[in-house]
Subunit: 290 residues, 2 copies
Amino acid sequence: MSGVFLVKHWLKDSSPLVRDTFSAVPLLSNPKASEKGVRYFEKDLNRCFTLGHPIVSYSPDDPYEVMRAKEINRMFGPRGSANAYDMMLDLHNTTSNMGVCLIASGVQNAVEMHACHYIQVITLGFPCRLFVLFPDPLQKRTIQSLVSWSRCGFELGPQPQGVVRADILQKMKTLVEVTLDFVNYLNKGMEFPAFETDIYQYAGEVDFPRSSDGEISAVIHPSLQDKDFSLLCPGDLLFLSLDGKSIPYSGEKPLHPVFINEAAYYEKKIAFILAEKIQVSVPALRRQTH
Amino acid sequence: MSGVFLVKHWLKDSSPLVRDTFSAVPLLSNPKASEKGVRYFEKDLNRCFTLGHPIVSYSPDDPYEVMRAKEINRMFGPRGSANAYDMMLDLHNTTSNMGVCLIASGVQNAVEMHACHYIQVITLGFPCRLFVLFPDPLQKRTIQSLVSWSRCGFELGPQPQGVVRADILQKMKTLVEVTLDFVNYLNKGMEFPAFETDIYQYAGEVDFPRSSDGEISAVIHPSLQDKDFSLLCPGDLLFLSLDGKSIPYSGEKPLHPVFINEAAYYEKKIAFILAEKIQVSVPALRRQTH
């Protein structure tokens, strides 16, 4: 609820979103779900956007969130049009112990990468890890989350759904303010130097063990719970069944688990996501003013 | 989800619920909500039971959870009838940092009080605090939660809705097993000696500060968050607004806050519940066998 709380605040007073060169527009992406205190009403809104297939049609029979995705596309797009907004900030929370995690769609998007790096440098009070969904631009994968625009995703946790925690709220507010500052400096022609950084790159996902009827038969092992971004080595314990049986990691190489025990992923058959830590080089960035 | 996970397990294999003198019956109280991974479908099931007004009518227009409450009453009651089950164990989770909390309806129910005390004595591995809803039997208050029968409520946290944590799951399993042992010993004629104990007694509830449109204007203060069962003194900080304003506790006497920042209570306009710590004397218990 951190993002919902912040956006409701900004809808009353948007002055914190104003900078010299632009203003950001606050949007409550899923008002019906916010009102009910749930993640979504009919369909996960963060699975209603696709990159490959622009959404143009509009049907009253669509699930609420599909209609809402189309509305958002009309309001801030249409995607690919000259009038489309340049950047979008997603405010997310997770039940996983992710701390403050920045999510970029790919390392080739220089604005995203520099925005994330700027946040990491400025917000020294807390670490910000960077998770990259699709480091390979050639990867032909349908992107269903809201990554159609240049954007920064903020994923803060642990926080239960339906709850606002003051510590997480304050960090999220800082992330947005710092990112708007970054865009403002970029607009003004500031040059951001090249840098090297470690990113966590999506490398796969692992479902819970399930019995023949599809029900979960073992839960996240206590030794893995809350260990997001730690190093998971072959043989480390992943799951624990009620009768005390432990199931180890049988992967071939050490990886970093993230989004461990995220509530919204149960239905998506994801117990945790695996990430590889890699170093990337990002060239300098300076906006070409015309 | 701890209770849901345990009950689904016991529905496949109920042998852990069998004792010499009786068997317990597992029930998934709200299958529709469990399937969707939400607390409830149309109406909070834990507000669908009333003590003063036995539920007898049955209408297809009822919200799903009201129909379900009536079904539960038919299955295990009807309330007050000779065939009614004697005891019920409620398995609950909370997003609050409640640890392991036992909930009894009132100190006058000797079976409930002895069951809780037995649990406290046996489960030395973790503290079990006892929260009593209605210590005064004359208190004419409509009880809407599932306290119509003799029962023990188990409230374990912190755990987000929609998530199973192995540590909390294991404790909940232990609580049920120990309570069934207690009932078995009681059935066999064992005498449980009188005791004195500290209980936390319901003393009121506090809503979030709200603006004129009803929206929450300040969140739980970081110095209160996760401090369930601690002592709250006049002047201690309760809430923090986005612009940094703190709101202190203006009550007259020190009390103990519980269910701080519980997700399900936002809609019920409860930021936390206040409890008074009192010592009670409970007489010896021995079942009269006929």
